[in-house]
Amino acid sequence: MNKEIFSYIDSKPSMVNKTGSLHGKSISIQPNMSVRGWPTEAGSRALERFAALEDATVVENLRTAGVTIKGSTHMSELGFGLIGDTAAQAVATGEVDVALVTDSMGEARIAASSKNLFGFKPSFGIISRYGLIGLIPSMECYGIVANTPLEITIVLEAIAGTDDRDYSMPEEVIPDFGRLEDIKTLGTCGVVAECVDMLEPSQSKAFSAALSRLDENGMAIQEVSLKDFDLFRVAHNVIGSVEASSSCGKYDSVRYGHRAQSARNWNEMYIKSRAESFGLLVKTYLFQGAYYQFEDYGTFENACRIRAQLVREMEALYETIDVLILPTRRKNDTIYDTHSIDDVYDVFDLTLPANMTGQPAIHIPGSFFGRETDPGLQFMAPRLGDMRLLSVADHLMKVREGDI
């Protein structure tokens, strides 16, 4: 198996449950998802030599479902951006059927869009995060990349559900996942005008063409406005960096992780080790978060208020429409090549609203309409509307293949 794709390959796969819903399928995880005894370094020297002490709940659930967990792909440092990420490649090259991707800004959708795959971000709080070594707890979840919505659906069914180890999951009845609806009508779809305005003319043209195809296939397209759309990016940047700064406070190089030599006392050891552990991009993000924490707390509070306001505005939109449609991305060549925080946010500024609001979102590959370079189609639905999205995606795939 390919070492360019996998950071760790399970040489002795454990016995799989042959009666599970995922028996015969293979999946890749990332090295920040805990499997007892596996190297779990999350792409960072800060976790050098760290091996997970116990299985993540998701890993337990995958094993119950009978899937073969082939190994861990490569990931960017602590999952910030997609530099060096090989999850979508693992699916595209046929190494695995499905890849799990840590999704805190839209990583699953963007990675999928780079390889003509489906990328799905589930509703926040329906999959246990226990065992996920995260960076931005309030935004992140397990994203799923696969060739078909059906595969995403059966994986979602296997891993979603309440977990008494994850107290952060809302107390609510999680709908029955796993059954795709037979779509009779595609319903009303809201197109966010402000997003379309962000596209280059050529991208805009491709996006319009895609909307026409949807229209021809019976989806009522309606333009909606989210005038504060640009605030998603700003607020995510502030809140995300503050949470990241807190999350990374535990990397002190005492019990695991890279430890600097030649420190004279513990304080110096912390400082030198952390300086040597984090890469420049993550370090910049952590510094920014610490700045808001220590020096400009008011801005953080404002960002939280703006986030709450944006959630309300988004929810109000769904009063008149069934799903939202947005382009997935407007940058094509820099997805895996980001050098600054701005670069990263340029890649994800159309996908991060779903992470900010906890809503589900799916990327439907651009090749659907025969254009490799178009901005892709991204559908969003209200929280817990996951099956609606997957059903729409499944329906559109059947349309493409001439099944309908």
């Binding site: 760290f50 002490l53 993540a56 065992g131 070594i133 107290y167 406070g249 924490q293 220590f294």
Partner: protein, 475 residues
């Protein structure tokens, strides 16, 4: 100029829940180091804290005992700081939305006047790990014990209503009594389950402004708190009269030298809402359920003891300050022992004997029914007071019933008149001088003769009957 002190206390107390605050590890910090740990309280990557319902109940009961308003929505924040006792980089605490606000406690001032001390807020927070500094050869090393990491604390912040060291000590005692009563915490400064920090400033008497305060830490008894505050008030007055100003800082109490000394500047980190512990939403129903668990609190109990049992006020207070003691007292009284006799035996005999043996009511073998039986035998004249005391000491040594002890060790009182008359005759003929003294009007000679008779009977004679016989024979 006349100055007055303005004092506010911040009290941390460790809740006595079964488990830690965010995992199922036992809440026993004193066990062998690092025994009570798991990935969650070792703060390992990938873990998610799971807030304990029992901690919420204990904290809420404590806040109710302090007359606080429970906040229906409260939440945890991350208090960020970096130190080896907190390898997570932040402590889960409640800053923006505390559990409870606006409470009070009533104390008696030095002048015997009742006074209410306001309580600004009560909030929950996790304790950090414990550092142990040792040397390996000549190298100093620091060890980290995670048994304490994640154990539950509440912090009780008073209003700056306290005006003297005495009031501060009374406030701490009242607070301890209330919290122990609801069974939420042990509140022992000596054992380290209660820590008191004092914020002290002074101002001209009658002024209502707040001046720069100094925080004093590291007191390990209630008396220490009083001494440290008194020292700090004097120090500040000395400063002001020397024309110097007070600077905001933290000082440590040195119990050996009885002084406070400045400590290194403390780093105050920010507090951001924790994204992983969901906001706590308290329903009316839940709150009513907790309220129904509140026991009769000492303030009410004193009144009832005075009213129902006819105790003097101070005895009522004595019998109600600790919940288990009040229950012990009532158990004895309910078996028909007179309340005053019960108070006498518990306070003057049982308690000192328990203290000598380092026992408490929870682990003493002298249960209320054994003590009751003993007092009942005394009241039935089956044993005399002297023997009763001896029997009580035996109760500590064996688990036999008092009547068995009395028989086995021959404590039974001798009340047989013939036997006693023979005894008295022996005493009279052996002590002719005392007999003469008595006949010449020396009253205390009677006491001497009774004492001789008691001694001869090895303390078992009925002293009342001895006296009667002596009076008849010498009459």
């Amino acid at each position: 100029m006349d100055y007055e002190a303005v004092i506010g206390l911040e009290i941390h107390t460790q809740l006595n829940s079964e488990t830690k605050m965010f995992c199922s590890c036992p809440n026993r910090p004193g066990d062998e180091p690092n025994r009570n740990t798991c990935p969650i309280c070792l703060w390992m990557p990938g873990t998610i804290p799971k807030f304990s319902d029992q901690v919420l109940e204990k904290a809420t009961l404590a806040a109710m005992a302090l007359n606080c308003e429970i906040q229906k929505h409260n939440a945890f924040d991350q208090k960020v700081y970096y130190y080896p006792d907190l390898p997570k980089g932040f402590q889960l605490s409640q800053f923006h939305k505390p559990l409870a606000k606006n409470g009070w406690l009533e104390i008696m001032t030095e002048d015997g006047v009742p006074k209410k001390i306001g309580i600004r807020q009560v909030h929950m927070e996790e304790d950090v790990a414990k550092l142990i500094h040792e040397t390996e050869g000549r190298t100093p090393i620091s060890l980290v014990d995670f048994n304490r990491a994640g154990t539950p604390l509440i912090e009780i912040v008073s209003e700056p209503d306290i005006r003297s060291p005495y009031e501060a000590m009374e406030y701490i005692k009242a607070l301890r009594t209330q919290i122990r009563y609801v069974g939420s915490a042990d509140c022992s400064m000596e054992q380290g389950t209660m820590r008191v920090d004092a914020n002290i400033s002074i101002r001209p008497k009658g002024s209502d402004q707040f001046n720069t305060k100094v925080e004093v830490k590291n007191m390990n008894s209630i008396h220490n708190v009083g001494d440290a505050i008194a020292y700090e008030i004097n120090r500040q007055m000395g400063r002001l009269s020397a024309g110097e100003s007070i600077v905001l800082h933290t000082r440590l109490w040195d119990p050996e030298k009885s002084i406070t000394a400045p400590m290194r500047g403390k780093f105050e980190g920010p507090c951001i809402p924790d994204p992983s512990v969901p906001q706590i939403v308290i329903s009316d129903e839940w709150l009513e359920n907790i309220r129904s668990q509140l026991p009769e609190m000492p303030g009410r109990k004193v009144e009832r003891f005075v009213r129902e049992y006819g105790l003097p006020h101070d005895e009522g207070v004595l019998m109600s300050m600790e919940k288990d003691l009040s229950e012990y007292f009532e158990a004895v009284v309910q078996e028909g022992i007179s309340p005053r006799t019960a108070v006498h035996w518990i306070a003057s005999q049982l308690m000192p004997a328990m203290r000598e043996r380092n026992q408490t009511l929870s682990n003493t073998p002298v249960s209320s029914d054994r003590l009751t039986e003993l007092i009942a035998m005394l009241e039935r004249d089956e044993i005399n007071a002297k023997s009763a005391k001896d029997v009580m000491l035996k109760l500590f040594e064996t688990d036999e019933r008092p009547d068995v002890i009395v028989k086995k060790y021959g404590f039974k009182q001798v009340s047989d008149m013939n036997e006693l008359e023979v005894l008295v005759d022996t005493i009279l003929s052996a002590n002719p001088d005392a007999v003469d003294d008595f006949k010449n009007g020396v009253a205390k000679a009677m006491g001497f003769l009774i004492g001789q008779a008691m001694q001869a009977s090895q303390g078992k004679a009925n002293p009342k009957l001895i006296r009667d016989i002596l009076m008849t024979k010498l009459g």
